[in-house]
Amino acid sequence: MNNPILSVAHLSVSFNHGNKVVDDISFDVYPGETFALVGESGSGKSITALSVLRLLPPNARIQARAISLQGDNLLRRSEYELCRIRGRRIGLIFQDPMSSLNPVMTIGDQIEEVIKLHFDPPQQALKRRVLELLRQVEIPLPEQRINDYPHQLSGGQRQRVMIAIALAGEPDLLIADEPTTSLDVTIQAQILALLKTLQQQTGMALWLISHDLALVSNLADRVAVMQQGKIVETGHCDEFFRHPQHPYTQKLLDALPSMQSCLTHRRQETPPLLQVEDFKVYYPIRKGIFKRVVDHVRAVDGVSFIIQQGKTLALVGESGCGKTTLGKGLLNLIPGTAGRVTLDGVALDTIQGEALRQKRADMQIVFQDPFSSMNPRMLVGDIVAEGIQALHPGVSSVNRQERVRQLLQQVGLPEDAAQRYPHEFSGGQRQRICIARALAVDPKLIVCDEPTSALDVSVQAQIIELLKSLQQEKGVSYLFITHDLAVVAEIADEVAVMHKGRIVEYGSVAQVLSEPRQAYTKKLLGAVPVLRTENKPFADQGKEAVL
């Protein structure tokens, strides 16, 4: 093999003289290859990338034997010289394209800036080059888009602009730091396909940083796994996924939800618990001097479904399809506009006030973000007890505490958890507390709004296991809202696919996932990265997904 384009030797990074966040790691990236650095959140993978270009905040301390770009040790380069390397020889794209683009500059100016800085061509050529780049990243109608601001573009287009900025300096190495994590799965497939195509066109090396093993297995030539600041395993992609050596890697791979798991589900009819008929949530659009309602945003536009007792219905859809609004609308956290919601024989849309408040015990919710879903000023014990206090005021304080203790034990939290504050727990533990809080009032139905999306894959598997075992134990039903089809296969009995406020496909999980009838469902399924143990170029799969 030829010489590495980037060679990192014994790199360590620490902040404020604290623990090492990156701990003595070494790796090489070779020309033209795709190198993937995989790890869960907090493993130090993004910091590694930023430390190579010295883009970390000033309180970071970088130590290394060498960080060489084509044999040139970057550690010996001054800040001024490094400016010639950033953007010119190493391009970077980040996770969130919305915040990574300057909101008050047009995208044309932001791309132009790089070209001007590194090549300084005449004005005419400059403009031509910007348009060429926009075309290269497949932005439609670049002549019109060039004067747009970032907020006028969609998420996928923004990431394309970020890629154009990174490409503008014609770099030899492109670092992509979680480039698709904030995007929908179909857009993710498109962006990854684009990256692969561009790599083939330009012959640059791609250093991909990701938490998603399935995605990496489709894209990378070589893989390194990071855990707590250390690289625990490095290998060629096919070899790596076929025979993972390190126990941590094996654990990660085992935790991946598998699309096949649904095929083994037993089917067994139970009486319906929740019936939803033609449910609608509209938001008024007001215009004019007196703010008259001129139209409505149809967030949820007439959906109907049934959840059976002790079963799970998964509600799948991309961001903005109205799935969260539906969940909150059912719980009456957002007023519904029309439709019938019957829970266990009681029509929820007809009752209000005190009657509705009492009925709330039957229906609970678990939110996506385990950080904002608990009051940071309350003890965990009080958080869990809140529902009991509100709906069963007769329960004595001793009994309540006993119940809280039981609940926390059921969700697998330590004995002393009740006397601690939420911030002392990890993301997964917090989600367990939220589940305990929901269970406290003995609900018949729990709306789980993306409960695992903010969690690492190994933690996600544990939470899903917990939800499943609780369902078996207590016979509770779930409405499981998610964007992740792979998780659906793990937990759901039935699936409803939502698109633009409507349910486009509704059926048993085996049917929807293995024999989808609707084009939209097929597109969604096609875009989900599946763990591949043979190295097949991802670009082809991405193309299929787009078509």
């Binding site: 909150k328 709330r360 919710i365």
Partner: protein, 447 residues
């Protein structure tokens, strides 16, 4: 013992703060920022200075009729303690440490002849037989003795503390922050002791136009500054808190009405609103003279009204902040979770919203304090501040600024008010910074 309105409110404020402190003790979200403040050197040093000011202010808030008093005279504990200072007044201006009066007048010499010259002061340096030779050495000697006594006092207490404290509590003396605090205590106590010691013999900051000791005036002004800085908050806080949270939480017409009220109040230039209200109070007081038996009661009433009016004009800023924060909080998932669990709205308000906006309240209260102290001076300058008979730095500046044109310049009133005001405001600003750093979640205390 006589309790003036502002005295009562000050003690009420202290009681409320003690209760609040008792209620919040041990709460994690208060404890951690507090610990951060306790670790901050500047924070604790400025707090120490503030405490000295507060102690003087409190001493000046205990009012009673003097045992051998005459008429309606009311004095405070501070006055009682500083009686010599209060009563040692000269005829007119005299410079700091002077032994002669500022202006010449006709004097009768012992031999009966009359002479046009600078007479000796009645009290300043009266113990000196021959001022020409003894003056400077005497000042230095007395200053040194005074300072030595003050320093000795602090050292004595420190030694006492060191010998009494057991091992785990030793950190109250040896930690870097504690050392800094002790340095401040040492400096403040020794210098003030020296000044007090000296002022038994001299007017350390001179005397003003009517011959009153400027040092005494500056010390008396502390209470006025503190009252304006704190009582205004007491007025403004309930309004801002109730209206801000209600507007954000209930939205709809409640929000519209509250927004209308504060935009209206905001749109009136605040100085004009204050001026109009003060004029109103003046007319009211003129019409009801029988209600205000003594000068001090009358001045106190006006001070209270000033706080009230300042409170009414200044609640809008905090109200807007709280409204915005409540709007944000009510969409938080934990509020929705509480709603889903059937928790009543008023409980949600008290349990989930209120504790989570408290840091904003605290930060803005501490930040407002210094600007209110500064505002007092400006308002007094336009004659819409405190009563002209009230001791305040604003009145001192106002009285002294015209004397800048004199030859030689009468600079001491300005200097004294500058030093005291600057010390208080600087300490308040530094402390406010520390509080903000500790309580503002964006600044990392929570991570």
């Amino acid at each position: 013992m006589i309790i003036l309105w502002t005295d009562a409110l000050i003690f009420l404020l202290i009681a409320v703060m003690l209760l609040l402190g008792f209620y919040l003790r041990g709460k994690e979200y208060i404890k951690r920022p507090m610990q951060q403040i306790a670790r901050s050197k500047t924070g604790m040093m400025s707090l120490t200075v503030l405490i000295f000011f507060v102690v003087v202010g409190l001493l000046d808030s205990i009012h009673f009729k003097p045992p051998e008093g005459h008429g309606n005279e009311i004095i405070s504990a501070l006055d009682y303690w500083a009686t010599p200072l209060r009563e040692h007044s000269e005829k007119t201006y005299s410079a700091p440490f002077a032994v002669y009066l500022y202006s010449k007048e006709m004097m009768t010499l012992p031999d009966g002849t009359e002479q046009w010259g600078y007479p000796r002061l009645q009290f300043g340096g009266a113990h000196l037989a021959d001022p020409e030779t003894e003056h400077l050495p005497d000042i230095l000697e007395k200053a040194f003795y005074g300072w030595l006594q003050g320093a000795g006092l602090v050292v004595f207490f420190m030694v006492l503390l060191v010998s009494l404290l057991r091992e785990p509590h030793k950190r109250f003396i040896v930690s870097p922050t504690a050392k800094a605090v002790w340095a401040v205590v040492f400096l403040v106590v020794s210098v003030n002791y020296m000044l007090v010691y000296l002022s038994a013999y001299y007017h350390v900051f001179g005397t003003d136009k009517v011959g009153e000791d400027v040092f005494y005036q500056a010390i008396k002004s502390i209470r006025t500054g503190l009252v304006i800085g704190t009582l205004t908050t007491l007025v403004m806080l309930p309004m801002a808190l109730v209206f801000g949270i209600m507007a954000g939480f209930f939205r709809g017409w409640v929000d519209d009405v509250i927004q209308y009220v504060y935009t209206t109040l905001n749109s009136i230039p605040s100085v004009l609103l204050i001026a109009a209200s003060i004029l109103m109070v003046q007319v009211y007081m003129a019409a009801h003279e029988e209600k205000f038996t003594s000068v001090i009661v009358r001045a106190d009433m006006r001070l209270l009204f000033l706080c009230l009016i300042l409170g009414v004009t200044s609640w809008t800023g905090l109200c807007r902040l709280l409204r915005a924060e409540t709007l944000k909080l009510r969409e938080m998932e934990y509020v929705q979770a509480a709603q889903a669990m059937g928790v009543r709205r008023r409980v949600i308000l008290l349990r989930h919203i209120l504790p989570n906006v408290m840091h904003i309240v605290l930060i803005s209260v501490v930040l407002d304090f210094s600007s209110l102290v500064l505002a007092e001076a400006v308002l007094s300058y336009i004659n819409i501040g405190v009563d002209p008979t009230t001791y305040s730095w604003g009145n001192m500046i106002n009285g002294a600024r015209l004397e800048m044109a004199r030859e030689p310049v009468v600079w001491w009133s300005l200097t004294a008010s500058f030093i005291f005001m600057f010390a208080l405001v600087l300490a308040a600003n530094l402390f406010a910074d520390t509080v903000r750093d500790a309580f503002d979640p964006r600044r990392g205390a929570y991570e």
